[in-house]
């Protein structure tokens, strides 16, 4: 496609892909300067759902802050809770029983599949195919039912505690999870035939929005945005935490750098999560889910601590600055979509608006996570 010609200032108009828009997955505003269908300049305006979680981190005690984490990214909430409990356990030196670690890993992977299914449905709907959304949501319902039976919530979980979990899983959950895995594998094959092989879909995504490795590095992108550009970075493998070194799984990396590569990465990740769940269920040890000795009041020693985990959207980091008290001195939440979204302004110059919106879909945005 040809790039647009040099323009006079009054030949462009400003189109507000406003806070209320079916395609922007939340309240996000992008001020686009357009020349006909081409974007000359884009400026992302965020902050419409800013709730100041970091200030709440400075006024709530450690246990009181547990529920804030699932309100950030509601689709993949368990991954965020995992990061939080890990950093506080690291700081306060709390031991976690092995059974709890395994259950945590299984739950996080189930949540990751649910989040990717929702992304898949919403992404294809953005491109105009309305039916895969219904199929993906139906598969997701199985996961949500399983998780609800154990944790009590469908979406905003508050399941992990410092030291372990508050509720153990029972045989019903294990049976449901074991029967879910082959069903999900069949569904993935169906999505492959219905969507991935579709020629219109491929034409929409091939070659759209190439992101170079250098650009990903400058912005700190992670998850499918980096792995679709050939960067082999997954916190579970690069910086292993919790019980992930015990599992045998691959990290899908594609080198084409375009939107189709990002799509393929996420579809392949779902299969790898199924493998982790299978191995987790096989290796699940017996034992307690909370440590025998737990401090009554969580007071990590003074200093700063950092923990990164791999959530559905990328590398989520928590930086905890503690002064020895029972309330954190500073709690910084590094959200992956914040860095991924930042790319958009620079990368979408010269694109057509249809392609820019397909690109936005492939970045897998959840706006409350950007705004915290």
């Amino acid at each position: 496609m040809n790039s647009p010609i040099e323009l006079q200032p009054d030949e462009t108009f400003v189109l507000n892909v406003g806070p209320q828009h079916p395609a922007t997955h939340g309240v996000l505003r992008v001020k686009m300067e357009m020349n006909g269908e081409y974007i000359v300049n884009a400026e992302t305006v965020i902050g419409y759902i800013h709730r100041m979680h970091e200030k709440m981190g400075e006024t709530k005690t450690y246990p009181q802050f547990l529920m804030n984490l699932s309100r950030m990214d509601y689709l993949g909430a368990l991954g965020y809770s995992h990061g939080h409990v890990l950093v506080v356990e690291k700081a306060a030196g709390i031991e976690v029983p092995e059974r709890a670690e395994y259950i945590r890993a299984i739950m996080v992977e189930l949540n990751r599949i649910a989040s990717h299914l929702f992304w898949f449905g919403a992404f294809v709907m953005d491109l105009g195919g309305f039916s895969p959304l219904m199929y993906a949501l139906q598969d997701r319902e199985y996961i949500l039912d399983m998780l609800e039976a154990v944790t009590g919530s469908r979406l905003t979980y508050c399941y992990f505690r410092f030291g372990g979990l508050y509720n153990d899983i029972d045989d019903e959950f294990i049976a449901a999870a074991r029967s879910f895995i082959p069903r999900m594998r069949k569904s993935l094959k169906k999505y492959d035939k219905l969507v991935t092989g579709n020629v219109i879909f491929r034409k929409r995504l091939e070659g759209i929005a190439p992101l170079s490795k250098e650009m990903c590095r400058k912005y700190g992108a992670s998850s499918a945005v980096a792995r679709g550009s050939g960067i082999n970075f997954d916190v579970r493998k690069n910086e292993p935490y919790s019980v992930y070194p015990e599992f045998d799984f691959d990290v899908p990396v594609f080198h084409e750098c375009d939107s189709l590569a990002r799509y393929n990465v996420r579809m392949a990740e779902m299969e790898q999560s199924l493998r982790i769940i299978e191995q987790g269920l096989d290796k699940l040890p017996d034992g307690p889910i909370m440590p025998a000795k737990k401090p009554k009041l969580i007071k990590p020693p003074a200093g700063d601590y950092y923990q990164a985990v791999e959530t559905a959207r990328g590398s989520f980091g928590i930086r905890l600055v503690s002064d020895g008290g029972k309330i954190p001195y500073r709690l910084k939440l590094r959200s992956p979509t914040y860095s991924n979204m930042h790319l958009f302004d620079e990368a979408c110059r010269g694109m057509m608006i249809m392609d820019a919106l397909a690109f936005m879909g492939s970045l897998d945005l959840v706006i409350p996570e950007i705004d915290r």
Binding site: P22, D126, L127, G128, G129, Y135, Q138, L357
Partner: protein, 334 residues
């Protein structure tokens, strides 16, 4: 039919009534079809199988307030939905449903229908421009370029059929396809032209009908997820209702034309089945085509604007021109 004024008026009213009823109940059919494809029930609360849904939706739409955005061009704003609905319904007047069921047969039937179809494109421009909304304007620009691009292959394939039939009269075209399925213009092995490339023309015509009526995968004009609701963003209440019904009426017209030109109109596929009245065959073919429209919409994602325009200008027009010349050659030789 005797040409008394009363007869003509009654016939026209019945044709318009058929069109309006179809447009209303196609909404129901689409919603049920979409629901089946998406594994959910669809409207089934209002009346048996949800059959009362369209009239109730109509009542709801009429009861809503018709808002006109400040600064909008009032005349064009109100004229646009009327202009969307009117040509589609008027085209029904000359479509032959069977040997004797036609409101007013004209010997330039094909020309009249395509003239009315082109008028429908004006409503897109009026709606987008008069709404004073950038989204609406952008989408009407896209829709107009799409309409222009796809009219051309549609007309070229129609000219092919008219050449074979030797007349623009719709009745005449259907008469020439009488016989059996192999006489129809889609597989004319025994018919007038022994042109084996006619199925390709049929596909081209079908694709162009999809594009002319702004149906997925060519529905950039209404691209819901990008431009909110496209050229009818600012319309509520009955304005929206009229656009909707106009779109379905266009679908019915497009399917009628496809049936008449390629699928043999009211002719039965095999000669011994012609004891079943022609109307039944016509309606069967019509509704099969409409079911295909609905099926395609809910299966495929949307194309890009450049993909769409490339398809038309670089692929469909050369192919249809080639078929035209090929048919002309065959007619000359045989």
């Amino acid at each position: 039919m005797s040409l008394t004024l009363l007869n003509v008026i009654v016939a026209v009213v019945i044709a318009i009534g058929f069109a309006a009823l179809n447009a209303a109940y196609l909404v129901w059919a689409e919603r049920r079809g979409a629901a089946r494809i998406q594994r959910r029930p669809g409207p089934n609360i209002n009346g048996p199988f949800g059959l009362l849904q369209p009239p109730l939706d109509g009542i709801k739409l009429m009861a809503k307030q018709l808002t006109i955005p400040g600064g909008a061009d009032k005349v064009l704003f109100i004229a646009a939905p009327v202009l969307a609905m009117f040509p589609a319904i008027m085209s029904f007047v000359t479509i032959p449903f069977s040997e004797s069921i036609v409101a007013k047969n004209m010997n330039v039937g094909v020309l009249m229908i395509f003239a009315f179809a082109s008028m429908g494109g004006m409503s897109l421009v009026f709606a987008g421009w008069s709404s004073r909304n950038k989204y609406a304007m952008m989408s009407s620009v896209r829709a107009v370029s799409q309409a222009v691009a796809y009219e051309i292959p549609m007309l070229i394939t129609t000219i092919t059929v008219v050449m074979i039939a030797g007349s623009m009269d719709l009745m005449e075209i259907v008469h020439q396809q009488a016989g059996s399925i192999l006489h129809w213009n889609i597989f004319p092995l025994l018919g007038n032209s022994h042109n084996i490339l006619m199925p390709m023309s049929f596909l081209i015509f079908f694709t162009c009908t999809l594009a002319e009526t702004n149906r997925a995968p060519f529905d950039l004009g209404e691209a819901e997820s990008e431009l909110v609701a496209g050229f009818h963003t600012e319309y509520g209440s009955m304005g929206f209702g009229l656009f909707f019904m106009g779109e379905y009426a266009n679908i019915v017209i497009g399917s009628c034309m496809t049936t008449v030109l390629f699928l043999g109109g009211w002719n039965a596929p095999l000669p011994f089945l012609s004891f079943i009245p022609g109307v039944f065959w016509f309606l069967l073919k019509l509704y099969l085509l409409i079911a295909t429209f609905i099926w395609i919409r809910w299966t495929f994602p949307r194309t890009t604007i450049y993909g769409l325009l490339n398809l038309s200008w670089k692929i469909l027009i050369p192919l249809s021109l080639f078929n035209l010349l090929f048919t002309a050659g065959l007619i000359k030789v045989f």
